[in-house]
């Protein structure tokens, strides 16, 4: 292969998809750099799978172009694109054994001797002893690995993964996440992974694009997205956030705001929303960044930390940590995760407490947004 430097980039420009009056994907620009592990993350129906299928050629975009490297593949049918897909349900051919499933793509392209390559692939996915099994004789995890091998053997420019781990149970899913990551590192092919599981996206991908209602909300490295979300959707969908409605009093190197009678500070560069004194702002803080102190010890809290008072409404012990819900003037149901290192026995429901955290961990969001956007709902909890 004589790849130009942009040989394996996937570039979507102005790509959109509408079904009748429903817009599944709004015009979207996206560049997936060659060799990266890219995740499209979003709830079901956000347009992530449609985007993936447009790259595969299984769905025709309403507008826009799909470029693989410098080649416009928008009008190419799926069987002529150097792209392969790992389907959500695996879609293994039930009438062919594992060996023939994996060899399928090579045979269609007229490769005569497939044995060596198939054996290598079986080795890669650690299924060497299952070559002559039929798909229905394999476990879910094994079928999943066959689906990966069947796609990878073709050395595609891009491997598309459509919620490939959705059907697996939690433990297996964790193992397969590491496995896929290992395979990607080993083969160096660009992976575009669609998932609704934010933990999965953060564990595996170098870059995550969070999608919501047919648009990309934010894109970046997992840690960057997590620490510095730019919308309430990202703040709530990626982990949990406490969003406190506050009034801005001063804008300088730090933004100073008041909420529930207390003062909260955050660095101005962690506040993407346009702020002005007297305006409103959502002050965000991740639950694990907060330290909980009993009200009696409030004097011992170092100065310079953001603080807000409250009363513990609920606690739940989950082994490595304890989760507290705190009601206070700044907000109700503020989440605090404390590591179970030295548990203060006074921190029980009803106790008066002070929440304090480093202002550097605070982020600010535009208060015009829906505070609940992206937060798990009862039906979305699954």
């Amino acid at each position: 292969m004589t790849d130009t430097p942009t040989g394996g980039d996937v570039r979507l420009t102005g790509i959109s998809k509408t079904y009748g009056s429903f817009t599944a994907v709004h015009p979207l620009d996206l560049t997936v750099p060659e060799g990266s592990f890219f995740a499209l993350l979003g709830a079901s129906g956000c347009g992530k799978t449609t985007t993936l299928r447009m790259i595969a050629g299984l769905e025709e975009p309403t507008t826009g172009t799909v470029l693989l490297g410098d080649r416009d593949v928008t009008d190419l049918p799926p069987h002529k694109r150097p792209v392969n897909t790992v389907f959500q349900s695996y879609a293994l051919f039930p009438h062919l054994d594992v060996h023939e499933n994996i060899a399928f793509g090579l045979r269609r392209r007229g490769v005569r001797s497939v044995r060596r390559q198939v054996d290598e692939m079986l080795e890669l996915v650690q299924l060497g002893d299952k070559a002559r099994h039929r798909p229905h004789q394999l476990s879910g995890g094994q079928q999943q690995r066959v689906a990966v091998a069947r796609a990878l053997i073709n050395h595609p420019r891009v491997l598309l993964l459509d919620e490939p781990l959705g059907a697996l149970d939690l433990k297996l899913r964790r193992r397969m996440q590491l496995e896929l990551k290992r395979i990607q590192t080993e083969v160096g092919i660009t992976f575009v992974h669609v998932t609704h599981d934010q933990e999965e996206a953060m564990t595996m991908a170098d870059t995550v694009a969070v999608m919501n209602a047919g648009r990309v909300e934010q894109m970046g490295a997992p840690a960057e997205l997590y620490d510095n979300p730019r919308t309430t959707f990202v703040a709530n969908f990626l982990g949990t956030s406490n969003l406190i409605e506050a009034e801005v009093v001063e804008v300088g190197a730090d933004v100073v705001a008041t909420a529930g009678g207390g003062t909260l500070r955050l660095p101005a560069d962690r506040c993407p929303a346009p702020v002005r004194a007297g305006g409103r702002l959502l002050v965000g803080i991740r639950p694990e960044k907060i330290t909980l102190a009993h009200a009696d010890d409030a004097d011992a809290i170092p100065s310079g930390r953001n603080r807000t008072a409250g009363r513990i409404a609920d606690t739940s012990f989950i082994g490595v940590s304890t989760q507290y819900a705190v009601d206070g003037p700044a907000g109700t149901g503020l989440q605090v995760y404390e590591q179970n290192i030295e548990r203060d026995p006074r921190l029980v429901p009803g106790a008066e407490v002070v929440l304090h955290w480093n202002p550097a961990h605070t982020f600010g969001l535009d208060a015009a947004q829906d505070v609940e956007a992206g937060a798990p709902t009862v039906e979305g909890a699954a």
């Binding site: 069987h79 349900s89 039930p94």
Partner: protein, 309 residues
């Protein structure tokens, strides 16, 4: 049972009760089988035995028939009527092939492309069953009538030249030729081909087509390598449901054919009802059954369906 009386009821009664219930549960499958087995016994096994005994009898209607274990009847039947056996296999086989060629595209269309018309089309497939088999076959007499529009069109398109050379039609006639019999058989058994084909095609996961396309298979290769192999159970059951009854059919040959197009079914009917040579008729029935069984067994072996899931 004895323990139930010896031990206190509280501890002991439970165990035999459970045992009795599980014993009853084990019997359930046999109870469910019973009606079917009885039906098979009375309407299949007993008539078979009766026919088998008839086929080795000698005698006449006036003197009465007696079992004399006269096996030569079989050889004589085969010697006298092997041309009709050959025609039966030819007509039924050709009709089955035509059913497959006509039925597969239709079943494919209904299964994958019909959308909301699917159920309407399925009803149309079985709609002919609302009319009697005989009336539909008689209608074909009109359709294929000498000098009719169909024959005229076939003649104009030079189709009759080709079929004439194959010996399937004579001059500008279609009625009373092998082609007419094959047409009748094809028409009458087409739904028995389409329905199993549809069932097996409809079961194929559409994502397998996408997977094949994704793995560099052109639409044609997708059909050859994925759709067709996965629909083989339907092909096999469809051809069997068409070929087996078509081999035993005599109505189409009777109504649409001539004395030259007699199938084995016509011979058996004649032996039973006109010649009143019951032993020969019974022997022919068994021979037909044997021929069909052998043909089907060879076919299933070659199609290799036991391999399919």
């Amino acid at each position: 049972m004895t323990t139930a009386t010896d031990t206190p009821p509280r501890a002991g009664a439970a165990a035999p009760a459970v045992r009795r219930r599980s014993a009853r549960r084990r019997l359930v499958p046999y109870w469910l089988l019973l009606p079917g087995v009885l039906w098979l016994l009375v309407f299949f096994a007993l008539p078979m035995v009766y026919q088998a005994s008839t086929s080795v009898q000698t005698g006449s209607l006036e003197e009465g028939f007696r079992v004399t274990w006269h096996f030569p009847t079989y050889w004589e039947a085969l010697r006298d009527y092997h041309p009709q056996f050959a025609k039966t296999l030819l007509y039924a086989g050709t009709a089955t092939l035509l059913c497959l060629l006509l039925g597969y595209p239709l079943a494919y269309l209904i299964a994958f492309r019909a959308g909301r018309w699917r159920h309407v089309l399925l009803v149309l497939v079985i709609a002919p069953f609302f009319t009697s088999f005989l009336i539909r076959t008689l209608a074909w007499k009109t359709i294929l009538a000498d000098g009719g529009a169909v024959v005229g069109a076939l003649d104009a398109l030079h189709v009759l030249d080709v079929t004439g050379r194959l010996g399937w039609t004579e001059g500008d006639r279609v009625l009373a030729t092998p082609l007419a019999v094959i047409c009748g058989l094809t028409y009458n058994f087409l739904p028995f081909m389409i329905l199993p084909l549809y069932t097996s095609l409809e079961r194929i996961d559409g994502r397998l087509h996408e997977a094949a396309r994704d793995l560099y298979a052109s639409p044609a290769a997708t059909f050859r390598k994925v759709t067709l192999p996965l629909s083989m159970p339907g092909v096999v059951s469809g051809t069997l449901l068409t070929f087996i009854p078509a081999s035993g059919d005599y109505v189409n040959a009777e109504l649409l054919g001539s004395t030259d197009t007699k199938m084995i079914g016509n011979v058996i009917q004649g032996q039973f009802l006109r010649v009143l040579d019951y032993p020969t008729a019974a022997a022919l029935s068994f021979l037909l059954m044997a021929v069909v069984l052998v043909t089907v067994t060879v076919y299933i072996r070659r199609a290799g369906t036991e391999d399919l899931v």
